[in-house]
């Protein structure tokens, strides 16, 4: 069977692959949305932190023989801790200022991180093997699905929805949302907002690092692996609208799918399709798909 001249088996496999990519977009845009939503900072270092997650996993494996499963916890914790440090020492001083400064600071940090890793590990990147447990693949009939890719989708969805639940459905989430609007008042109500914010940034950063570890076995672990991805993720966040956590997740997954389809029907356009969608969405709904005007 064919759809627009494309065999349906190929189409099915492309959709699946799109979903896998969408999982990365979803985790990363979720992290960005949380950080933006709660700290009012565009975390330009997000891509670099994603890269650092992958590198921590790689270093842990090659230098210390730490396996993938441990790295899946260790890398987010390490990079998240670095995030906490950054928040405590730098970002904290910027909340009262225009957003611009947070953006610029994290832009500078991204340059530093990428530069340091490039200097240490070179540009061509390192290989991280697929963990043994997830090696191989299954034949789905229409495609050969590497088990690891399946795992990416499951892990990403679990983390995304867990995060969503935590923020939208718990008291902690209410504190977080209120804390972004008027931290002083929330403090006056008896909540330790600075700690909350530090934790939030650390968590957002840890999400990026988690995505990095997930990515390590499929992409080359490379100092610049995050820097191009992140621009697309920014576009995803704009399309989704910064207002909602669920919006970030769904938009991420959705755009992964759309991008996957573009790669079949018009591969040349797959790099810009996200941006084109962004323009259209903005024309129709300036606040983004899920954003509040």
């Amino acid at each position: 069977m064919e759809i627009f001249g494309v065999p349906s088996a190929l189409l099915g496999s492309q959709l699946l692959v799109g979903l896998i990519n969408g999982s990365f977009y979803a985790i990363l845009s979720l992290g960005l949305a949380i950080i933006f939503g709660l700290l009012n900072i565009i975390n330009f270092a997000h891509g670099a932190q994603y890269m650092m997650g992958a590198f921590v996993a790689w270093i842990a494996l090659t230098k210390f023989g730490v396996n993938y499963w441990v790295a899946l916890l260790l890398a987010p914790i390490t990079v998240g801790a670095l995030g906490v440090l950054l928040e405590r020492t730098m970002l904290r001083k910027l909340y009262k200022l225009d957003h611009l400064y947070g953006l610029l600071l994290t832009f500078g940090l991204a340059l530093i991180f990428e530069g340091v890793f490039r200097d240490q590990y070179g540009i061509s990147g390192q290989s991280y093997p697929v963990p043994e447990l997830l090696e191989g693949g299954v034949n789905l009939g229409f495609m050969y699905l590497p088990i690891y890719r399946g795992w990416i989708v499951i892990a990403a969805l679990a983390v995304c929805f867990g995060t969503w639940f935590m923020i939208e459905k718990t008291k902690l989430g209410a504190y977080l949302r209120a804390g972004t609007e008027n931290p002083q008042m929330v403090q006056a109500l008896g909540i330790n907002v600075p700690l909350l914010i530090t934790f939030t940034y650390g968590y957002g950063v840890a999400l990026a690092a988690f995505a990095g570890v997930l990515a390590a076995p499929v992409y080359q672990v490379n100092p610049l692996m995050g820097s191009n991805l992140i621009i697309v993720v920014f576009a995803v966040v704009v399309i989704g609208g910064m207002g909602s956590i669920m919006g970030a997740i769904l938009t991420g997954l959705g755009l992964g799918l759309i991008e996957g389809l573009t790669r079949v029907f018009y591969p040349e356009g797959s790099a810009v399709v996200v941006f084109i969608i962004m323009v259209i969405v903005l024309l129709v709904r300036p606040a983004g798909l899920f954003g509040k005007a």
Partner: protein, 240 residues
């Protein structure tokens, strides 16, 4: 000795309080004392430092020095978020309703700090508007509804020392009247209240004592009993 079981009769004592916003020195040595169950007001012209006094107690100013004792304990070095644990409830001048939370979420947000707070039913009974609009996003409430919500928010937590900044502002007379009843009731329940008010008609019958501020200093202390003879002077200094 103070303990949780035998609370200090002196709920709030401020001595030589100085406050700063950045470079500007706003409060120049405030001294005041409020006993348990008392209601006092801070009077003064716009910009005389009344709101700043309340904010200083909570640590919401740039820098402060001096002494602030709550229930017998020195708190000047405590971070803001710890203050609520001492049973302080604050209704700020700008209301500070959270846009991303619904009215009810706003209401439920502050953690309970002590027993004896009002129940939701009591609160909705007092402010029926809020019941009707409880699922509306906080900032979509009308100006007055936000004011009610800010007040209701602290009543639920069980805080016993209330710092109220112009709570009647923008409220219809009918609600102002109701608020007056609420405050009277709170006093009966042994709440301690520090109010900043422009609406003198509202404040005068409620307060045990009035502090008059000018340029960040207390220039007069007027017990309720002396109020009638001081009215002329107040008129002059405050234009009341």
């Amino acid at each position: 000795m103070t303990s949780a079981f035998k609370p200090h009769p002196e709920m709030l004592r401020i001595q030589d309080l100085h406050s700063f916003y950045g470079e500007s020195h706003i409060l120049h040595g405030i001294d005041l004392k409020v006993a348990r169950g008392e209601c006092v007001t801070l009077l003064g012209r716009n910009g005389s430092g009344r709101s700043t006094t309340l904010k200083s107690i909570l640590g919401l100013v740039g820098r402060r020095s001096g002494s602030i004792m709550v229930n017998g304990k020195e708190v000047i070095d405590e971070p803001t978020h710890r203050m609520a644990r001492y049973g302080i409830g604050y209704v700020p001048e700008e209301r500070a309703i959270f846009a991303s939370l619904s009215a009810e979420e706003n209401l439920m947000l502050p953690p309970q700090v002590a027993t004896g707070g009002m129940s939701l039913d009591e609160i909705y009974g007092m402010f029926p508007n809020l019941l009707e609009r409880r699922n509306s996003p906080g900032t979509k409430l009308s100006g007055g509804e936000q004011q009610m919500l800010a007040m209701a928010r602290v009543l639920r937590t069980g805080a016993k020392l209330l710092l109220l900044d112009e709570i009647t502002e923008g409220l219809a007379p009918v609600i102002v009247k109701k608020l007056g009843e609420v405050i009277t009731e709170l006093k009966k329940r042994d709440f301690t209240i520090v109010m900043v008010e422009q609406n003198f008609r509202f404040a005068a019958p409620l307060a045990d004592r009035h502090y008059v501020l000018e340029h960040g200093e207390i220039i007069a202390t007027i017990p309720a009993a002396e109020l009638p003879q001081k009215m002329d002077w107040l008129h002059q200094t405050l234009g009341v």
